[in-house]
């Protein structure tokens, strides 16, 4: 049962917890394998940090309130909305943006599949869609169409590229599966 409680004195804490801000201060981010130190306020979102402080504009700001998916990036490999995450909360995590996907000038198979299936029109939602698909394929190399739909359900596309996006994801999965050494 719940009860109303106590007014006992608190024991002193051995180590005081650092309280940061509200002014700018240093935060450390690892983005696409590179370390960065930023000088920002605690209220800085990951999205603003990426776009404005690091110049990584591949993640877009379509709504800034967790409703469109254009800001999707990977946090430790999982897709998240960068607009709903404080940059300061990303310390100690690995962030992947669309800029980190192509390796040595070679497009990632998901990127190639998006081009081949024409899974984009204006292209504004595309970085987010691609990262959502990549995260899915990393976790589940053999997705069904239903899995793909679930995986990109948080990425709106106002141009309506959806049918082609689904095809591109399945094509990429197939291509990845057929790659030697997998």
């Amino acid at each position: 049962m719940a009860k109303a409680v106590r007014a006992e004195p608190e024991p002193e804490l051995e180590v005081p917890v650092p309280v940061r801000g509200p002014e700018r201060g240093p935060i450390k981010l690892r983005v696409n394998g590179e370390k960065h130190e930023l000088w920002v306020e605690p209220r800085r979102t990951l999205l603003d940090a990426l776009r404005d402080d690091l110049g990584l504009t591949g993640a877009k700001k379509g709504c800034d309130e967790g409703t469109c998916g254009t800001c999707t990036v990977l946090l430790d490999g999982k897709p998240i909305y960068a607009c709903l995450r404080l940059a300061i909360e990303c310390e100690g995590h690995e962030i992947t943006t669309i800029e980190g996907l192509a390796q040595g000038g070679e497009l990632h198979p998901v990127q190639r599949a998006f081009i081949e299936e024409d899974a984009l029109q204006c292209g504004f939602c595309t970085p987010g869609q691609i990262l959502s698909v990549k995260a899915l394929l990393d976790e589940n190399p053999n997705p069904t169409e239903e899995d793909v739909r679930r995986a990109v359900s948080g990425n709106l596309c106002r141009c309506g590229a959806y049918p082609h996006i689904v095809r591109a994801a399945l094509r990429a999965a197939k291509g990845l599966a057929e790659r030697p050494g997998r």
């Binding site: 504009t57 497009l107 024409d118 984009l120 959806y162």
Partner: protein, 781 residues
Amino acid sequence: MAKVVKVQTEFEGRFYEETIVVEGTEVEPWAPEQPLKLVGRPVPRVDGPEKVTGRARFTHDVRLPGMLHGKILRSPHPHARIKRLDTSKAERLPGVRLVLSHQNAPEIPWFRGQTRLFDTTVRYVGDEVACVVADDEETAEEALRLIEVEYEPLPFVVDPERALEPDAPRVHESQPNNLVNGEPEVYERGDVQQGFAEADVVVEGVFRTQTALHNCLETHGSVAHWDGDSLTIWDSTQHVFGVRFQLARALGLPLHKVRVIKRHMGGGFGSKNQAGKYAAIAALAARMTGRPVKIVLDRFEENLATGNRPATIQTLKLGAKRDGTLTAIFHKSILNAGAYAVWAPSASGPTKRLYACPNVRTEDWAVFTNLGPFSAFRAPGYVEGTFALESMMDELAKALGLDPLELRLKNYAEIDPITNKPYTTKGLRQAYERGAQLIGWAERAHTKRARSKGPKRVGFGLASQIWGGSGGPPAYALVKLNPDGTATVVTGTQDIGTGTRTALAQIAAEALSFPLDAVEVELGDTQWGVYAPLSAGSMTLATVGPAVRAAAEDAKKQLLDVAAQLLELPKEGLRVEDGHIATPKGERLPVAEVLRPLGNFQIVGKGARGPNPDDKNVNTFGAQFAQVEVDVETGEVRVEKIVAVHESGRVVNPLTIRSQLYGGVIMGLGYALLERRLDDPRRGLPVTPTLETYKVLTVADVPEIVAEMVDLPDPEANPIGAKGVGEPPIIPTAAAIANAVADALGVRVYELPLSPDRVLAALRGAQAKKDEEEGEEGEAS
């Protein structure tokens, strides 16, 4: 020689008299049977790599050294006078560089003088009041909250029917009434009264459509930068030359001092056809602060202030003979234009011309209200009008006991009912046939019986579409041919996500007989580009494509001239083949090799869009079929399948055109089932300004879509034989679904979207009517 002519042009479903310059670059059209190498092939987008890597630069992504950020203060009142405006606290906030308002901004007329850049009267929730420019967005936002405004609220009106009453509050004090243009727009042919008198059957209905929001994922915005007296604007726009024209006029600048750039744009759908106030504000602020200024609207502002597909109330009446022949149509449409309008879409467009009917009267009443102004939205008017017309056609078919498809074929228009001219091509009949086959139209009664179970009812519906899409002059292009055998196409059009870059590269490479990767397309810049019109009205490809082809043909001709002289061979025997000069002896010399003696030089080909045919109409057509399943317990409508078959002349790229078809259908589906802006009538307040409250379709909502083109190269339309396809596929979708729902339920929902509450209400209404009738029968017996 340039020739000035007066022509009738069709744009976004309306006809306009225009004075235009045409230049006679005559190019022989590609014949329908002519084999082409690149045109007609599913070439992947040429800008695909930029877009999938995040390199593609959108206006949102433009960052300049020293750039400031602007945020706009907007009116929370639907109608009010600004009595006092105090910006001093905001100005004192560290980091704030400028606060612009009516107190210090020049008086720049906006919406043809219906308001000003910063007016002292605000006429809708979201109207611009002031703008803070600061070092960063957070500071600008903070400062907005420090601006003190005292408003004197004025009476307001948001319901267009109420706005038409004589004692209604007036949106614009200086106007005698709330009608855009002061009066309704009336069209009449034949004698409608006579027509209804001759009819064996008359059906009538009142349809309501909702306000729909574009919700482009890239919100509207601009970045302005001055270099001396020259202004450069990066703008998220469908019309770089239009923005240049508008801003030059607003700021009193000569055209050559204004440069507008748009490389990539995250959706426009008509809402970016013109310059927004934010662009002019950014330009002014940049001049006043001496720093680049960026203004990007947030999602909330986007949904208040950048336009919408206006709501309509449409009364439609059809009269027909027993065999289905239409004798008369009457269509009255009231359209909620919002606070400002310089034109108005017409919902009666399809009524005037989709069917052969001798007696037609239409009235379009566009009404000012204290809501956000509308803007063009993918086939403005036609989507709304087709919903009403094609729904009513099904009611007529039902009343006559005819198959809906049969009724439509009975009234098939062989010549355009407005102009009385024949069409260059009209593939609607083929679209009906193919679509009926793909959906299983003939077997639908069987499918319905087999598939309807428990609370689920299956139904089928169809709807047809007519639209412009001819394109037309003026538009220009250059093809710059380099000595290494590469070419750059330059034109002032823009790729708004439709694949224009790719199609133009295909056309230029085809005409030059160059490989595709030897051709680069530069567009979206008024500095380098030569004039091309806005990307709207499904006209870009049919307008700019022929100009690009003409320029490429011109360059090729010059190339052959030069090659003949260098090779000392007669010009007549030479051809260009896949980037090589082919000689009569069967030699194939790379262009780079032939031109090498000339060193660094360039051939410049020039092309212009020629006129459209005088004696024929150029239009686009299509038919869509829907299969739906409706749950009569919950009212949920599930679309199972859409078949879309359209005719837009030649298919230049089957891959990207399928994207367009899907895109149109999906937007139409959302409009039919889901999308609606809701406005609190007591406060004139839109309550759905977010993507959580204004729902668009997700990937999981998309049913099976079968999309096909009737590929009918149209050599009479223009030398590339293509017409537009951006808008046609959204036009009939909602109507086809509404008809399928009516087929499933046996009763019709007259209002969009077809939401569960409306489906349930329609069923309840039908049940009540049935009970009443049975009750009467009972009494009689």
